[in-house]
Symmetry: D2
Subunit: 295 residues, 4 copies
């Protein structure tokens, strides 16, 4: 994707420039951008997104179905062969869907075939809002949907995809929220103070693999200098933060057992809202701790 | 080891029977039992143990060192070849020390050699109070001790070994405490009631491997019908209890996220006192939990 | 009330003795005991209670209403003058209803009059299951009930009263549960041990007054030697336990602020189930605490 | 006190203007300001305060003692009669020290006399950093100090007083911190969300009286729009926040007991650092809660 265009520019430019900038927001469906062109001007980026979604709602079922059919299959061999847009390729690549084993490819092919047979269009999902486990889980659960609710689901996912593409393609006021945030802080309940110097390790847990996402050390305020995750949608999935409080309390010179009752404290949780803020603190003594979804 | 003998019988029997029953309590050192024979009668089994420890303290350094030298090396090839007493073989076998790989054997051989070179007697440890990880950790840390404090440590371990053998060999009042206990309970803070039907899985964590120890489901009182561990010393080491509270709250019909923020809650802790009671409860809602060493 | 009679004796005695023992269980309605006489024998005391409740259900609405009308008014001047049975007098006296001020008496008189005008029988409540505040609250809320549901409520209260009288009047197996229990324990999360030596003070909170109920010091297990309340129904109402943890942590030599952040920790809660077990523990460090209804 | 003067102005003005602005910062001791005049310019307000403290340290013990003796007695009849500076009168008035009963006045007179007899100068304390209870407690404890440590204590308090006066008298960069902050937030652990709409009432607890300080309702983020206390030193003393969570959970439609187990949750704590930030949150379900000094 190229440089972002200003919303003001888009509000004033000719049809050709408008389409050049936004024709790819909806996969293989430049007509959505064309419809939005007629609805200018837009005060906020979110209004532009809403206008495009409205355009998609305004057309007949046949056109909408054609739009859905224009989406690539997930991880399919066909996809590997090149029919995907650059945007789709990049989005799918972020989960390693272009580097699947033969067995995994076969599983996706089976799911793709079953889905298409049941619904008549490819499985559409906003890949950037999922871990690989969550995506497969989503795929299998949606196969059981009724055709009607699955068409609504596909439209909702198309909206997620378009929103993410739009905030990258357009600069301007009122961008819709697309990023989430995961943060933490550690409180030492023995001293009643933030626990600084605590090593914090975030991993993604999954059926396929366990992957290190980030690692940090808490500062004097008991927080990490940067959120553990930020600047993008949080991927729906299961995570674990390991809080290395044994080393922290040892460094404080607090008497405890040998080995210490608590050393590395794992906190395992799932993220369900990609655009949400997840604050997962730890209140700890050498013998007890509490955690919760905070704010 | 054969049948246990009554303390009353031991208080009244002749020297030969006494030695037949207790000659093996101290490894290759029947003279300890002989000394205890002269100190009869014993009101409690713990008194008999104390008398034997006193006998070991009463002799000169040379005799005590000879007693230490009479212990087998841990996991050594010599040991495999047969010089161990049946008791030692059984105790070491419980950690799989008789089924080590070539690499592990080599590591033990190096540690055994370094220890013997430094202290002049084999490394003595009450194996039944340790996991394999804790045992290796203990081995390496004790190599750094001064000879004096290490001789004291070895005597203490001999006392642990003897106490465990004694409570199996002798029936009677006042048995010294040799077993620990690990228990749990789960409280549902949404309903203010014990959480029944929660699956609870206990594993041992270790560098070598992760092993399932036990699995249970909480009863109506939020507890497991039996303690998670009991009836033997708790092995010093690191453990993890997985509390399956996601399934529990789903069964209660409590609205939560999809996937639920908390599903399987791991609580990781170390046991440092083999004869202690560790109560590790969980107070949980779908969005928060607390745990602690309770009583 | 005199000595308790054995259930076995009651199962075998003649009608006169049976009525002498149980004629007063239902206020001014010996016919309930007479009906129960015909249903002998009873394996358990609870069966006897159930039989009496059944007898009350079996008669027509007119007889049941007459039974309700046979109950004294709460705290009324008429009652003061002497028409109450000895049992009612004792039960009402436990809340100090026989020592009300003129203003309080006037309030009860107003409520009694309004209730009788609306429902045609006096307000019946098992006084021993209430604090004075809860009783007044109950009185006012029940005035808003429909006549039908209020008649059901009155019967339920008559059942509570009878059950309490019965377990005092009859000895034998299978007594229905009439007593509740309030207990506590204190855990020191700095040391991971029960907090012994903590002063614990229980008061009843109420609009009328604040009254000390009991005071204790935790033992080595962090519990009080006796439950804070036991041996009788818990009175529905609001309570507060004050945990003196500031003095405890000072005695432990744990560094904290001056004055300490936490000194006397009040835990305020309501009891709603007179026959329930309320366990109200405190998990505390000098800077944090948690409490919950435990089990 | 009049308008604040700019630090830049003070750095450039003549001696007369400087003394007019700052001569009253140290009670009845304009020579401290004079000494500071010679040390200009000051980059920060805190530097000006440090220079004045240094000036006080530079003089001999006799001059320093004279400065201490220039302070008024607390709440004395003499003070009432008018020898105090306007600043002292205002500061003491904030605790109601000018409206004491005869009995309280007599107590202060006794303490003042005992203190002066022991140390030879009046009791000096920065009144604005104390509740009345804390002030009396401080007074009685300091009577037991050695003369040497009490002189040091008096100087420290003079520094606190001067710092508070200085930040009001001077505008400019680098003001020393003189204000503290008390904040809270409420988290609903049933829904994993901030609890909005919770009534929160802060009172000061004291031997003399219990006073309402502020009352607020939490916003959608579970916090109060303004801190509970801010913009001034926090007074050392004991406080209680009452969290009305019973009404909150009832409004959420969460099933609970009747009356609810938790209704008004009191959290009692002491403030020891007037310039500190005290964050006192509540994590609550209808059956459990936790609180702690947070950050």
């Amino acid at each position: 994707m190229g440089m972002a265009t200003d919303l003001a520019t888009l509000n004033a430019c000719d049809r050709g420039s408008f389409l050049a900038a936004l024709g790819g927001i909806f996969e293989n469906a430049p007509w959505v951008a064309e419809a939005a062109f007629a609805m200018r001007p837009f005060a906020m980026v979110a209004d532009l997104h809403a206008a495009m979604m409205q355009a998609m709602a305004n057309v007949g079922e046949t056109e909408r179905l054609a739009l859905m059919r224009g989406h690539p299959e997930l991880a399919s061999k066909v996809a590997s062969a090149g029919a995907m847009t650059a945007e789709s390729r990049r989005e799918q690549g972020s989960l390693g869907l272009d580097r699947l084993s033969e067995g995994e490819l076969a599983r996706f092919d089976r799911l793709n075939a079953a889905y298409r047979a049941r619904f008549g269009f490819p499985f559409i999902v906003c890949v950037r809002r999922h871990t690989r486990d969550s995506l497969l889980d989503n795929f299998e659960r949606r196969l059981a949907n009724s055709p009607e609710s699955e068409r609504a689901m596909a439209l909702q996912e198309i909206g997620h995809i378009a929103r993410l593409r739009l905030v990258e393609a357009v600069e301007g006021p009122g961008k819709p929220k697309t990023d989430g945030r995961l943060s933490t802080h550690v409180l030492d309940t023995v001293s009643g103070k933030p626990a600084g110097g605590v090593r914090v390790v975030l991993i993604e847990l999954g059926a396929s693999a366990t992957g290190l996402l980030t690692e940090a050390v808490t500062n004097a305020d008991g927080r990490t200098d940067e959120p553990l995750l930020a600047g993008a949608p949080l991927r729906i999935g299961t995570y674990q933060i390991a809080f290395h409080i044994g080393a922290y309390f040892a460094a404080q010179g607090i008497a405890t057992a040998s080995p210490p009752f608590l050393d590395v404290v794992p906190v395992r949780f799932a993220i369900a809202e990609p655009e949400g803020h997840y604050h997962v603190p730890l209140l700890a003594s050498p013998w007890s701790y509490a955690t919760y979804r905070g704010s």
